[in-house]
Symmetry: C2
């Protein structure tokens, strides 16, 4: 079971923005501070922007700011945007979490726990 670097990068970038909130910061700075490829990060933050987690300002002196206060953004939101649904699915089988598949119980229970955990962590909890 794993999360992608994408989720980690996205989370780190948002924590970074949280700690200078409400100031703007540009990709170059974030990427240097977090040691993440600037071009790649640019795309990742783009997805977070589409989903209204961050706002951007173009042009000279532009950059990104959190779209909401750090206490109003959760790790769950970010990770779900970066990595897709956190509720693990049954594959191969035609089973779509019906009672036909005994093991689907496991994925349902687990999904609930993961969501509960990650949606319970706010960006404000992650800045010192």
């Amino acid at each position: 079971m794993k999360f992608s670097t994408k989720a980690e990068y996205g989370l780190r970038a948002m924590v970074n923005l949280a700690s200078c909130f409400p100031e703007l910061k540009n990709i170059k700075s974030i990427s240097q501070e977090e040691k993440i490829s600037a071009k790649y990060l640019e795309r990742l933050i783009g997805e977070l922007r589409e989903r209204k987690i961050v706002k951007s300002l173009k042009g000279k002196n532009g950059g990104y700011v959190l779209a909401r206060k750090p206490e109003q953004i959760t790790a769950g939101e970010i990770i779900e945007i970066m990595d897709g649904s956190m509720v693990p699915k049954c594959y191969g089988n035609q089973c779509t979490h019906m009672k036909t598949c005994a093991s689907s119980f496991v994925w349902i229970k687990l999904g609930e726990q993961i969501r509960k955990t990650l949606y319970g962590i706010k960006l404000s909890d992650l800045i010192k």
Copy 2:
């Protein structure tokens, strides 16, 4: 965030064996019942055998049995063997869950919850 089909196949196969425990069942039967490629499943169960979750009997009339009673085997054990560690890691960074990386808190918390959940589910909970 996702689990592989490997984890799901392994779990389904073990649930299947749990429901006929303590009888032997061979790969062919399991693969037909669970609609999983026999050859692939053979390899997956091989890994579970190395890790002492199932025992095998070779030769004619051979097959597999759970190595322990269904109430003594957890979903966590199976999934961890199939899919590797369930504790999500930080990658890119040199960060090995030190306090340097604010977001590592997230992975630590989450890992704890995932383990707690999956190690709390026994095969005996999964058979009707």
